[in-house]
Amino acid sequence: MKPKVAFFDFTSCEGCQLDALNLTGEELTDLLNAVDVVNFREVKTQREDNYDVAFIEGSITRESEIPRLQKIRNQAKVLIALGACACIGGVNCLKNHLPMEEVKQIVYGKDAKYYDTIPARPVNAVVPVDYYVRGCPPLPAELLKVIKALLLGKKPEIPNHPVCVECKMAGNICVFERGTTCLGPVTRAGCGAICVTSGRHCWGCRGLVDEPNIDSEKDILKKYGLTVEQVVEKFKIYDTYVEVLR
C-alpha cells in the first residue's frame, strides 16, 4: 500500500509547491510509483481527506486558518512544513512589526473593514510539526530527499551547520569582504550557499542553526565595521528570531 500524500497551501506565494513539480520525467515516475498524491489543489481536481503525509506550505495569518490546520494535523500521521513561510514564518512576518489595523489601512484604506488578518506565524506556532523542508524556496532535491527518507522509515537528515561551511566549499569570496552584511554564519545550511554563489548575500531564509554562535557573528560584524542593527534589519525579512541577536 503506497503512502497517501497531500499538499496544502496557507498564506504563501505557492512557489514551494510549484518548485516541487520541477522534476525530470524519471523523478516524477519514480515518485508516483512510490506514493499516491491524493490532495494537491494547485494541480489536481479530485481530493481525498484520507492521507498519511501532509505537506504544509505557507504561514498562518487568519483566524480561519487555525482550525483548518488543526484538522489536517489530526488526520496526518506525518506533518511536514514546506518552505520558509511554514517553517519560520517567512516574509509574511514583516507585517508583524506594525499593528494589524494599520497594515489593513495601508492596503485597503476605507474598505479595510471587509478583511481580517492576524500576526503571521509559522506552522509550529499552531500545531506540532514532524519535519521541516527549509528555504525560500526549498530545493527540489531536498524535498525528494525527505520523501525518500520517510519511505525508508528513516529520519530525514537536514544539516545543522551554518551556510558558511557550504559557501567555503563552493569557493565563494566571503561577502563580508565586499563590505556587505551576511547571515551565513548563523543560518542553517543545505542550500549550497546559492545566494552568495549567485553574487548576493545570505538572507537567512532557512532559519538559524540550533545553537547559533551569536558572539562569533558579532565579532565578524565588528571586524568589518558593520553594526548589529544592520544585521537585525536583514533578519527581519524572514523574521528569524530577531530577539536572539539583541
Binding site: S12, L18, E42, L94, L98, C195, R200
Partner: protein, 421 residues
C-alpha cells in the same frame, strides 16, 4: 421548475484560492460570483521602511510562478526612482531571463493545468501513464526554462543575480551556447504541443472587452513600453492609476479594476490583440495554424495565445543568445546612486501587465509602495465573462455548466495569491 446550484469551493488547477458560485431558478440567475478568498499578505505594508537592495527580494515573494516578473517590475520601479540608465548588456540578459519565466509559466498552464480538462482527467498525474510523451515533453520544456533562469539568476523561483542597475553575476558563455542548442529542440517540442492543441475542442464563446497591454514600437513588449488600450490608445506609464482605478468588493480579497468599460482584460490574448504584428515569424505562423487572429474576443483562446508566445519566447531567446555570444560579456561597474523620488516599473508578466510603484526617501528607504497585479485586473473581467456566458449555457446539465465555468476561469491562468498579495 428547475433549481440550479453550482458551488465550486477552492477551484483547482489554478494558482491560489477562489470559488465559483451560481444559483438559478427557472432560468433566472439569482446569484453568480467569482469569489477570491486568498489570504492577503499586505506586501505594500511589508515593503515600507525597507532598504532598496532588499525591496526586490521581498517583492519577488508576491508570486511563486512569476517571481521574475515581480523582481523585474520591482527593480525597474527602483531604477526609475533613482534615474538609473541600463547598459545594453543588462537589457539583453534581463530579456533573456524574462523569456525563461514566460516559457515555463505558459507550459505549466497549457500542459499541467488546462490539458487535463481536455483529456477528461483530474490532473497531469494519470497522464504520466496514458500520455507519457506529452508529460515528458512538458517536463523537458519546464526544465529547460528552469536551467536558463538558473544560468542567468541562480534560480527561477525568486531569482538572485538580477539587481538594481545590472547583474550581480554573469553567466558563462559556454553554458549559454549549450542552452541555445536545447532551445532549438524546444521548438520541435512546441510544434508537438501545437499538433495536440489543434485536436482540442475549444469552447466558442465571445465577449468583446477592453484589452490592455504594454506596447513598444521596437518589439513585442514585455519589459518596456507604454500602456496601450484597444479603447483608449497609448497612455503614458506615469498615468497608470488612471487606467487601473482599483476598487474593493467584499467578496474578494483582491482589488478589482476598470477603465473605459465595466472591466478589461490583460494577459497573453490582450498582448496578442494589441501587438500581434510584432511577433517573430514562427510565432506568427503558429497563430495562423491555431486559427488565432486579431482581434480575438474568445477568452478560452488565451491558452492559444500563450502557446504562440511560447514560440516567441524560444525564438527570441535564441536570437538574444546569439547577440550575447557575438558581443561577449564583460563585468560592468554597478554603482547605484540613491536619491529620494518616485518611480513606476511596468512589465508584462505571463498573465498580463504588472505595475510596481515605489517612493523612496533620500536614504534609499522605501516610504510608499503600490503594486497592481495582472490577475487582480482580470478578476472583474472573469466576472463579466461569467455573466455573459451563463445565460447561453443555462439549459445544460449542472455538471456541464460547472465544468465550463471552471474552464473559463482556468483559461485566464489566474494567479490568485499574487492578485491579493
Amino acid at each position: 421548475m428547475r433549481q440550479l446550484s453550482v458551488n465550486v469551493h477552492q477551484l483547482t488547477r489554478i494558482e491560489g484560492h477562489g470559488n465559483i458560485v451560481l444559483n438559478a431558478k427557472d432560468g433566472e440567475i439569482k446569484e453568480l460570483r467569482w469569489e477570491v478568498t486568498e489570504s492577503p499578505r499586505f506586501f505594500e505594508a511589508m515593503l515600507r521602511g525597507r532598504y532598496y537592495e532588499d525591496v526586490s527580494h521581498i517583492a519577488s515573494r508576491i508570486c511563486g510562478i512569476c517571481s521574475i516578473a515581480h523582481t523585474t517590475a520591482s527593480i525597474q520601479a527602483t531604477e526609475a526612482a533613482f534615474g538609473i540608465q541600463l547598459s545594453e548588456q543588462t537589457l539583453l540578459l534581463r530579456k533573456l531571463l524574462y523569456n525563461a519565466e514566460l516559457l515555463e509559466s505558459h507550459v505549466l498552464h497549457i500542459l499541467f493545468l488546462v490539458a487535463p480538462d481536455f483529456f477528461g482527467v483530474d490532473s497531469v498525474f494519470p497522464l504520466v501513464e496514458t500520455h507519457r510523451d506529452i508529460v515528458l515533453m512538458a517536463l523537458r520544456l519546464k526544465k529547460l526554462a528552469y536551467n536558463l533562469a538558473e544560468l542567468l539568476a541562480g534560480r527561477k523561483t525568486h531569482p538572485l543575480s538580477c539587481v538594481v542597475g545590472g547583474f550581480a553575476k554573469l553567466p558563462e558563455l559556454g553554458e549559454l551556447k549549450a542552452v541555445r542548442e536545447r532551445l532549438e529542440d524546444a521548438l520541435v517540442d512546441l510544434k508537438a504541443v501545437v499538433k495536440l492543441f489543434k485536436t482540442l475542442n475549444i469552447p466558442s464563446f465571445e465577449r468583446e472587452t477592453e484589452y490592455i497591454a504594454l506596447k513598444d514600437p521596437k518589439e513585442y513588449a514585455f519589459i518596456s513600453g507604454q500602456i496601450a488600450s484597444t479603447d483608449a490608445g497609448i497612455i503614458p506609464l506615469s498615468d497608470y492609476l488612471k487606467v487601473t482605478n482599483e476598487f474593493c468588493v467584499p467578496h474578494s480579497t483582491a482589488k478589482y479594476t476598470r477603465h473605459k468599460r465595466d472591466s478589461y482584460m490583460v494577459g497573453a490574448l490582450s498582448r496578442f490583440n494589441l501587438n500581434h504584428d510584432q511577433l517573430l515569424p514562427s510565432a506568427k505562423r503558429v497563430a495562423k495554424e491555431l486559427g488565432l487572429t486579431a482581434p480575438c474576443h474568445n477568452p478560452f483562446m488565451i491558452t492559444a495565445a500563450q502557446l504562440v508566445e511560447s514560440f516567441y519566447a524560444v525564438e527570441d531567446s535564441i536570437s538574444l543568445i546569439d547577440r550575447i555570444l557575438s558581443k561577449g560579456l564583460k563585468e560592468e561597474e554597478n554603482r547605484v546612486g540613491v536619491r529620494s523620488g518616485r518611480g513606476v516599473g511596468a512589465v508584462e508578466a505571463p498573465r498580463g501587465i504588472l505595475f510596481h510603484d515605489y517612493t523612496y526617501d533620500e536614504n534609499g528607504l522605501l516610504t510608499k509602495a503600490n503594486c497592481v497585479i495582472p490577475t487582480n485586473q482580470n478578476h472583474n473581467n472573469i466576472q463579466k465573462d461569467m455573466e455573459a456566458l451563463v445565460p447561453l449555457i443555462l439549459n445544460q446539465s449542472e455538471d456541464k455548466i460547472r465544468h465550463t465555468l471552471e474552464m473559463l476561469v482556468r483559461a485566464y491562468d489566474p494567479c490568485v495569491s499574487c492578485s491579493t498579495h
